[in-house]
C-alpha cells in the first residue's frame, strides 16, 4: 500500500489553516477508497469525506463546500512545471501562433497560453507559456529544441512556473487555479446543482415534495406502494405524479387531475423546516406491519408480480412493468404532447404548417393568429405560463421524488428521460439501481447522468393513519 500526500486547507470564517497528511492509496482496487476523518473545531461534527479516486489519485482536485467550511483538497501531482517568459505585447500574436505550431499544449488545453499581469502604475505585462518543463530538471537546456531556437531568436528570458494539470471541475476550483496561472473553465455538462449546497428554501421544497410523494404512496387502500413525483424545480410545480400501477391501471382520469395538482405546502414560510420534517413523523405503526405494507412497492420486488394476485383481487387490468416512475414518465410525456401538440406529429400532413405556428412563439405574433384553432387551443392549454419556446426536451431540468430507490428498469428509464435530479427516501436493497445493487449514476458510458440524493426520513412516515 502506497501513501499519497495531500494538502488540506481549511478555511473557517476567514481564518485559514493548512496541514499536510498522507492517505493510503490502494492500487489493487481501481477505485481506491480514501477515508478522511476530520473533526471540525467549529461544530464537533465528525465529517467523513469518502473520496473514491477515479482512474488515478491525481484526478481529484476539488473544493468541497460544507456550508461555510471550505475544504480544499489539492494534490501536488496536479501541478506541472512549464517554461514561461515575459514578452513584448507587440510580439504576442506572432509568438503565440508560432508556439502553438511547434509546442502545442496538447494535454493542457484548459491552460491559457498567455497571462496578463497588472503592474503598479497601471502598466501591464504579458507572460506566455513556452513549453512544458520536466519535473526535476529545470535547466533551460531541457527545453524543446525548436522552442529553444525561437527563444534565442527573440531573446526571451525564460523562467519556470506552475500550472494546473487538470481542468477545473467547479467554479471555486477554477478561481483557485487562476491564482496559479489562468485556465479556462467549462461548467460540466452534467448537473452538479445541489452539490454546493441547498439553501433553506431549496431544502424546504425538497422536503415538501418528498412529503407529497409519501402521502401519494399511502393514498391507496391500505397498501403502500412506491410513488413518483416529477417536479419542475424552476417554478416549483408538479409536472406529473403517479403510484405503482402494476395491479390496476384503469384510472387515467385520476392521473390527469393529480398531474397538475400542487402540494399545498409547496412554498411555505421560512423556519418551518423542522415543522415539516416533524409533521411527517407520526409515531404509530410497528415495523413488522411496515414490512408487510412495503411489499406493495413494485420496485422492491419487481420479480414478484405474478404472485401478487392476492393483493388486488378485483384487478381487471394489470401490467408488471408499470412502476411508479415509468407511469410518471408516461404522464409527463402525455402532458408534453397535450401542452405542445404542434410539434413532433410526424404523420400529420399539416406538420409544416404547425411548425410555422410554433416558430411564431412571440406573444405579439400569436395575437395575429388568434383565429387559428390550433393556436387558441395551445394558449388555453398552456395556462398562460408555457410558451412554445419553453417546450421541454423530455424531462430535462426536472427533478423526480421517489419514496423508494428505483429498480434498474426505472432508474434507466429516468436516464432515458433526462431527469436532472433524483430524490428518494428509502433504499431498495433487493433491486435498487442507485447504489444498492447497481449504480447507474456512475456508469460512465451512459449519455446522461442525474444527481442522486437521499432524503432521510424515519420509516414511520409510511404507516397509514387509520
Amino acid at each position: 500500500m502506497t501513501q499519497i500526500e495531500i494538502e488540506i486547507e481549511i478555511e473557517i470564517g476567514g481564518k485559514s489553516s493548512t496541514f499536510q497528511t498522507s492517505l493510503p492509496y490502494r492500487p489493487t482496487n481501481n477505485n481506491p477508497l480514501v477515508t478522511l476523518l476530520y473533526q471540525s473545531p467549529h461544530s464537533y461534527i465528525l465529517l467523513c469525506l469518502y473520496l473514491c479516486f477515479y482512474y488515478s489519485i491525481q484526478y481529484i482536485h476539488s473544493i468541497f463546500i460544507f456550508h461555510k467550511l471550505i475544504f480544499c483538497v489539492s494534490l501536488y501531482a496536479c501541478i506541472v512545471n512549464v517554461f514561461a517568459s515575459i514578452i513584448d505585447p507587440k510580439l504576442a500574436n506572432t509568438l503565440i501562433r508560432l508556439l502553438n505550431q511547434i509546442a502545442p499544449l496538447e494535454n493542457l488545453r484548459h491552460v491559457k497560453r498567455i497571462r496578463k499581469k497588472q503592474l503598479e502604475g497601471g502598466k501591464t505585462e504579458l507572460l506566455v507559456i513556452l513549453c512544458l518543463a520536466s519535473e526535476n530538471d529545470s535547466h533551460l537546456d531541457t527545453m524543446q529544441h525548436d522552442v529553444r531556437e525561437l527563444f534565442n531568436s527573440y531573446q526571451l528570458s525564460a523562467f519556470i512556473t506552475k500550472v494546473c494539470k487538470f481542468p477545473a471541475s467547479s467554479k471555486e476550483e477554477w478561481e483557485e487555479q487562476c491564482k496559479l496561472w489562468p485556465t479556462s473553465y467549462h461548467p460540466p455538462t452534467y448537473n452538479i446543482d445541489g452539490i454546493t449546497g441547498f439553501n433553506e428554501e431549496d431544502s424546504q421544497s425538497v422536503f415538501s415534495f418528498m412529503r407529497f410523494a409519501v402521502e401519494l404512496a399511502k393514498s391507496g387502500d391500505g397498501l403502500v406502494t412506491n410513488a413518483a413525483v416529477i417536479v419542475d424545480p424552476s417554478v416549483k410545480k408538479v409536472i406529473a405524479s403517479a403510484r405503482d400501477e402494476i395491479c390496476s391501471w384503469n384510472i387515467p382520469t385520476n392521473n390527469q387531475t393529480s398531474s397538475f395538482k400542487q402540494p399545498d405546502t409547496c412554498i411555505s414560510q421560512s423556519n418551518s423546516n423542522r415543522i415539516i420534517a416533524h409533521d411527517t413523523l407520526p409515531s404509530n405503526g410497528s415495523t413488522s406491519k411496515l414490512k408487510q405494507l412495503c411489499t406493495g412497492a413494485s420496485c422492491l420486488y419487481p420479480w414478484r408480480w405474478s404472485e401478487q394476485e392476492l393483493y388486488m383481487p378485483n384487478s381487471s387490468c394489470w401490467h408488471p412493468l408499470r412502476h411508479a416512475a415509468i407511469v410518471a414518465i408516461e404522464c409527463s410525456a402525455a402532458r408534453d404532447r397535450q401542452l405542445f401538440p404542434d410539434l413532433g406529429d410526424n404523420e400529420d400532413k399539416s406538420f409544416e404548417l404547425d411548425h410555422m405556428h410554433s416558430s411564431t412563439s412571440s406573444p405579439a405574433k400569436r395575437q395575429n393568429l388568434e383565429n387559428v384553432e390550433d393556436t387558441e387551443k395551445l394558449d388555453t392549454l398552456t395556462e398562460g405560463c408555457h410558451s412554445v419556446a419553453a417546450r421541454p426536451y423530455l424531462c430535462t431540468g426536472y427533478d423526480i421524488y421517489l419514496v423508494w430507490e428505483p429498480c434498474t428498469m426505472c432508474a434507466m428509464a429516468l436516464v432515458h428521460q433526462r431527469i436532472r435530479r433524483i430524490f428518494y427516501a428509502f433504499p431498495n436493497p433487493n433491486a435498487g439501481a442507485l447504489g444498492s445493487v447497481h449504480r447507474l449514476q456512475g456508469e460512465k458510458s451512459l449519455n446522461h447522468h442525474y444527481a442522486v440524493f437521499r432524503v432521510l426520513l424515519p420509516e414511520e412516515v409510511l404507516s397509514v393513519e387509520l
Binding site: N31, L33, S43, L46, C48, Y50, L51, C52, Y54, I60, S62, F66, S169, P188, Y190, G194, G197, F198, S203, V206, N273, R274, A277, H278, W303, W305, W318, H319, P320, L321, I329, E330, A333, N346, Y393, C407, T408, M409, C410, M412, A413, V415, H416, N430, A431, A433, G435, V437, R439, Q441, G442, E443, K444, S445, L446, N447, H448, F453, L456, L457
Partner: protein, 239 residues
C-alpha cells in the same frame, strides 16, 4: 455470448429479418431504427419498433411496445398473472440492437426465455455491454424466499451489420429529435448526498446538540464520490 451468422438457424435469421423490417418502419417515421419481434412456438406473436419521438417518452423502446401488445392481448383473453408469466417463459425476443439496461431489466422481470440481438449497444446495453442483467442475480434466494433477478439466455451478433448500417444511416442524416450520441464526453462524477433532517439527528441522540441548530436547520453532508464502482456501500459515521 456472441455468435456468428453461420451458426444461426434459418429460423433465427428469418425472425431477425422481421425485426429489421420493424426497424425500417421506425426509420421511416424518423425514429431511431430499432425493431423487434417476440416469438412463441415458432410463431411471431408481437412486434414493436421505437416510438420515442412520437410519444415524447424516451422509454418507448421497441421491446416495451411489443411487451405491451402481448400483455394487453393476453389479458383480453382472460389469462391470469401466473399464466402470463408461464407464457413469457416460453417466449423468444429478436431485436436488432442489444436491449438497453431498462429493457433488459424489464425482460428479466417478465422472465423471458431467450433474447437474440443484432448489434451490441456500447452506451446503454444491459446484456453484457454495460451491465449483464441477462445473467440474473448471482446471489441465492434470500431466506424469506424473495425471488431475485431472473436471467435469460442471450445471443448477440445476429445480422449485426444490417442493424448497424440502419443506425448509421439514421445518425448520418442527423437525428432530428434527440441529442443522442453527442451529450457528454466529460467523465462522470457521481454525486451522492444525504440530506439529514435536523430532527432525525436530534432523535438519534448523537452529538447533534452541539451544533448550531438554529443556524443549520439542516445538516447537509455531501459525499462526493468520484467513482463508478458498483455496490459501494456508503455510510456516514456519527453525524
Amino acid at each position: 455470448m456472441a455468435s456468428h451468422e453461420e451458426d444461426c438457424s434459418p429460423d433465427t435469421l428469418a425472425f431477425m429479418e422481421l425485426a429489421i423490417q420493424q426497424a425500417k418502419l421506425a426509420m421511416d417515421s424518423l425514429e431511431v431504427p430499432v425493431g423487434c419481434v417476440i416469438v412463441e412456438d415458432g410463431k411471431v406473436i408481437a412486434s414493436g419498433r421505437n416510438r420515442t419521438t412520437e410519444t415524447r417518452n424516451a422509454t418507448r423502446h421497441a421491446e416495451m411496445e411489443a411487451i405491451d401488445i402481448l400483455l394487453e392481448h393476453w389479458q383480453k383473453n382472460g389469462l391470469s398473472k401466473l399464466e402470463v408469466a408461464e407464457k413469457f417463459s416460453n417466449c423468444y425476443l429478436y431485436v436488432t440492437c442489444e436491449p438497453c439496461i431498462m429493457c433488459a431489466a424489464a425482460l428479466s422481470i417478465l422472465g423471458i426465455k431467450e433474447v437474440c440481438y443484432g448489434c451490441a449497444n456500447d452506451k446503454f446495453g444491459g446484456c453484457g455491454s454495460i451491465l449483464s442483467l441477462h445473467l440474473g442475480s448471482s446471489e441465492p434466494l434470500k431466506s424469506h424466499g424473495v425471488p431475485q433477478g431472473k436471467g435469460f439466455k442471450c445471443t448477440g451478433g445476429i445480422m449485426a451489420s444490417e442493424a448497424v448500417s440502419l443506425l448509421r444511416t439514421f445518425y448520418e442524416q442527423g437525428n432530428p429529435n434527440g441529442e443522442e450520441g453527442c451529450d457528454i464526453t466529460a467523465s462522470c462524477d457521481v454525486q451522492f448526498a444525504l440530506i439529514v433532517s435536523s430532527k432525525a439527528s436530534q432523535t438519534s441522540g448523537s452529538t447533534g446538540n452541539a451544533l448550531n441548530m438554529h443556524t443549520y436547520s439542516l445538516i447537509l453532508t455531501y459525499i462526493w464520490v468520484l467513482s463508478q464502482v458498483q455496490n459501494q456501500k456508503l455510510t456516514v459515521e456519527n453525524i
